[in-house]
Symmetry: C2
Subunit: 215 residues, 2 copies
């Protein structure tokens, strides 16, 4: 088949199909031939739209980062903004855990990830955090969110109830974690995010970072 009258592919269609395939079968299932087959074409046709397979994964990662809400940093106090952003960020990443290792390599030149970094840093500095600390907070939030989306804690344990008894005396109930996966992972994330913000508030108040703000 030579060039068709209506293009079969577009960057958007490729990104959507790659995202679906990554979610359904993991990063390892994404080959150019397989992805092309999902789109009804042959493998090399993808190279008319992306230079490499890695560029496709970059585009998938950025389309996910672009879905994270960041407007709250322009309007809300930093604690409220950080909490809302953290939940939005985690929701976006946890919906696509298989791409997280790729996404966590940093923003690079991807506009979605860069707009997020810009909004977070700008919002924290506006609220009185020293620039170096604002950088640290942006970093540690990415650590926490990426780590929580990377792999479910609860699903990491074996479901065989007899497996732990002998060698791991405190893990006798660990086989029950997978069946409560969502509540364990969300409970852990919420506990951690709240603790982080409480702990940062102690520092913020202790050093009086908020005392020169007009509100």
């Amino acid at each position: 088949m030579p060039r068709p009258k209506q293009a079969l592919l577009s960057r958007e269609r490729i990104i959507a199909a790659a995202t679906a395939l990554i979610d359904a079968e993991g990063l390892a299932a994404v080959s150019t031939r397989r992805l092309a087959a999902e789109l009804g074409v042959r493998g090399p046709s993808l190279y008319n739209h992306f230079a490499t397979k890695d560029e496709i994964l970059d585009a998938v990662a950025d389309s996910i980062a672009a879905q994270v809400e960041i407007g709250m940093f322009a309007t809300e106090p930093w604690q409220k903004a950080l909490k809302a952003w953290g939940h939005s960020y985690r929701t976006a990443l946890a919906a696509h855990p298989n791409i997280v290792p790729h996404l966590a390599q940093g923003p690079g030149r991807r506009p979605g990830a860069l707009r997020m970094a810009d909004a977070v840093y700008g919002g924290l500095v506006r609220e009185g955090w020293p620039p170096a600390r604002a950088t640290h907070i942006g970093a540690l939030m990415r650590y926490f969110v990426a780590g929580s989306a990377l792999g479910s804690f609860a699903r990491g344990f074996v479901e065989d109830p007899t497996f732990y008894a002998e060698d791991y005396p405190h893990l006798t109930q660990a086989h029950r974690l997978p069946e409560h996966q969502r509540s364990v992972d969300e409970g852990a994330f919420t506990l951690g995010l709240d603790a982080l913000i409480d702990g940062l508030t102690l520092t913020y108040d202790q050093f009086g970072y908020g005392k020169n703000l007009r509100r």
Copy 2:
């Protein structure tokens, strides 16, 4: 070459060579042929010692998890233990960031990771944390540590000083992050870990979890 008088390979030698290769050139550089070449043999010989390439990666991951110190949970107050463990855990993982995505899939049946989970959970419960909360704390700590080791925050930014000016008004200094990589990443991790523990201490005190302990 048929069976040699002295075996050329062992599980330990393979794990060591795989770790070195992963650290030096990344997960993608590890092919059975390449790894075998580093060991002076041909690819298929590895299958006399491991059933699949994935089992090799599992063994690498567990040898790293086994290096994390966990003795403090038997002797120290939970805050001090959590802080020391967090730093030891991060040190071990950050030395091998390329294997973190594999490691963060959970302990599975790997003894090193399971001993760690057992010690952490047991220590927290002994200090009065309710079992569900102890699980959450183990989980959120893994989130934070794995996320921090997964990808350097500071190295994720482009070094070109003109790149950010136009579109990202708050990131005008971001091009300087990579040159301060270690201090930024360690500063962010320490700030976050301290904040987490401070925040958890508020909860611990508020609910009086420590009030029935004999010390």
